[in-house]
Point group: C2
Chain length 145, copies 2
Amino acid sequence: MREFERSLPMSLLKARESVMKKFIPHLREHDLSPQQWRVLRALYETEGLEMSALSEQCFLLMPSLSRIVQNLESRQLISRRTSDIDQRRSIISLAKEGIRLVKIIAPESEARYAHITETFGYGKLELLYELLDELVVKLEAEEKN
Amino acid sequence: MREFERSLPMSLLKARESVMKKFIPHLREHDLSPQQWRVLRALYETEGLEMSALSEQCFLLMPSLSRIVQNLESRQLISRRTSDIDQRRSIISLAKEGIRLVKIIAPESEARYAHITETFGYGKLELLYELLDELVVKLEAEEKN
DNA sequence: CTTTACAATTTAACACGTTAACTATAATCT
DNA sequence: AGATTATAGTTAACGTGTTAAATTGTAAAG
């Protein structure tokens, strides 16, 4: 049997955790989880997103997103309103305080990302992205399983 | 600001999910989560592991492992006994039913892994492993942050 | 115009990830 | 030996991942 360490999901997980460790402490200082940060960041890029769109942008399943939005709303970082044309839809926006927070966190976050790029090497990082993308594409192309 | 998609943790997560999708359905048929499967697999390789050792092997934090072991024990897939020399330590082993399960699942699991290797290409897979390892090593080497 | 089907979102239920606090046992120190 | 400290493991509390079911609003069919 293939050795235990030779596990692709495991390697991907470990790599992800290594990278996240560089970001999480900084986010935690502002009481944000990586997922909450993703939501704020997505809303900063595109103001006024519906739940479904936000879910896709952030790569979060609806139930997770639903909870996250409730949390962020209760902290007044975002606000929501019901769509005029379809009352099922809610439209999420950054609140003033949310904008403020993104502006504070984003630069530091960018700096850390730049630092990782430098540490690992730009070329290698590009290569890694390409390989990961290709892996996804090839596996997904097989959805006939 | 860097575009949203250009996120290393996100890319790693997506890749991981793509890969896992190939394994999870099969595991679910046997009511096993990927983590539970990791534990069974580790115990199949090395009979009689302490919680700490198992935790390291499976890359699971102790609280998670603690719950998983309780679950698997209640399902009679594993058994535990207290160490003779140190009563704090428990030693986990595969129970008969657990061994049976591993023998059923492992071959199918291996086949799926082989299939992924073929789909993605052996060389690329090796390269990916190397890059991921190197990323971890380089980031970890910086634990001075 | 009502019954039915569908769509957007939430809730429920369970497992895991994570940090911190806690329990029990072992090792160390004076 | 007796107090202190360290170690193995569990429990608690909270957020997220995931599947299924429930809720509510909209659209479609009869």
